[in-house]
């Protein structure tokens, strides 16, 4: 069960779309850095996978709000997610 980490804005990069196209049953998605812009506008409706997490520090940095379908976590929980999943795949391009 893979943990996918997406760090680019879904408006400027296809990283999130590519990641979702490679999502398997049991995988989890974590949005970090500019990846959290996927919380804005109607983007969350387009994320057809779950569970979806986002880093709270990155959300607060950007002045975004977290929809109910997505769980905001701190760095400690990020480490936990990496323990619970394997492999870890980063999508940064």
């Amino acid at each position: 069960m893979t943990l996918h980490i997406v760090s680019k804005s879904p408006y400027s990069s296809n990283a999130l779309a590519d990641c979702i196209g490679t999502f398997a049953e049991g995988d989890a998605l974590l949005l970090i850095e500019d990846g959290v812009y996927a919380l804005s506008g109607r983007m969350p409706e387009g994320i057809a996978v779950s569970p979806v997490y986002c880093l709270r520090a990155d959300v607060e940095a950007r002045g975004l709000t977290v929809p109910a379908s997505i769980q905001a976590i701190d760095d400690g929980r990020w480490v936990q997610l990496c323990l619970e999943h394997n492999p870890i795949v980063s999508w940064f391009n």
Binding site: E33, D34, A57, D75, G76, W78, C82, P87, S90
Partner: protein
């Protein structure tokens, strides 16, 4: 558990090197082991001794060094990627006949094999790129 990190981004230009540092701090705070941080591609600039961010900005090089001292971390910079980008030890500067060296204390230059070795010896590898 044993982690290793692969860092491909320079400080400042992208957020991801700072994310890598925060992740490293968080896993160490939980008592996990950080086997190695391997700096590749533009990540080699994390080991520059002459980067001088303004006083009120984050000093990522200094933060890596502090963490290294505290936990005896293995901070390895890919020697081939570093040569191309101008991050050199005294020894490399002399060998390549370049006028200066800028490798920061606490970082080591080594070959790409150290990335494969980190993969083989860690339970988890997390890549910070872009």
């Amino acid at each position: 558990m044993k982690f290793s990190l692969a860092v491909y981004s320079a400080p400042h230009s992208s957020q991801s090197a700072a994310s890598a540092l925060r992740f490293a701090q968080a896993l160490l705070a939980q008592g996990h082991q950080l086997y190695r941080v391997f700096f590749y591609c533009d990540g080699v600039h994390n080991g520059s001794s002459i980067a001088a961010p303004p006083q009120d900005e984050f000093d990522l090089v200094g933060q890596w060094q502090a963490l290294q001292r505290q936990h005896q971390l293995d901070l390895v910079i890919c020697i081939a990627a570093a040569q191309r980008r101008g991050v050199l030890s005294e020894r490399e500067a002399e060998r390549l006949e370049k006028p200066a060296a800028n490798l920061a204390d606490g970082f080591e230059l080594a070959g790409l094999g150290q990335l494969a070795d980190a993969v083989a010896n860690s339970d988890r590898l997390v890549t910070f790129g872009g």
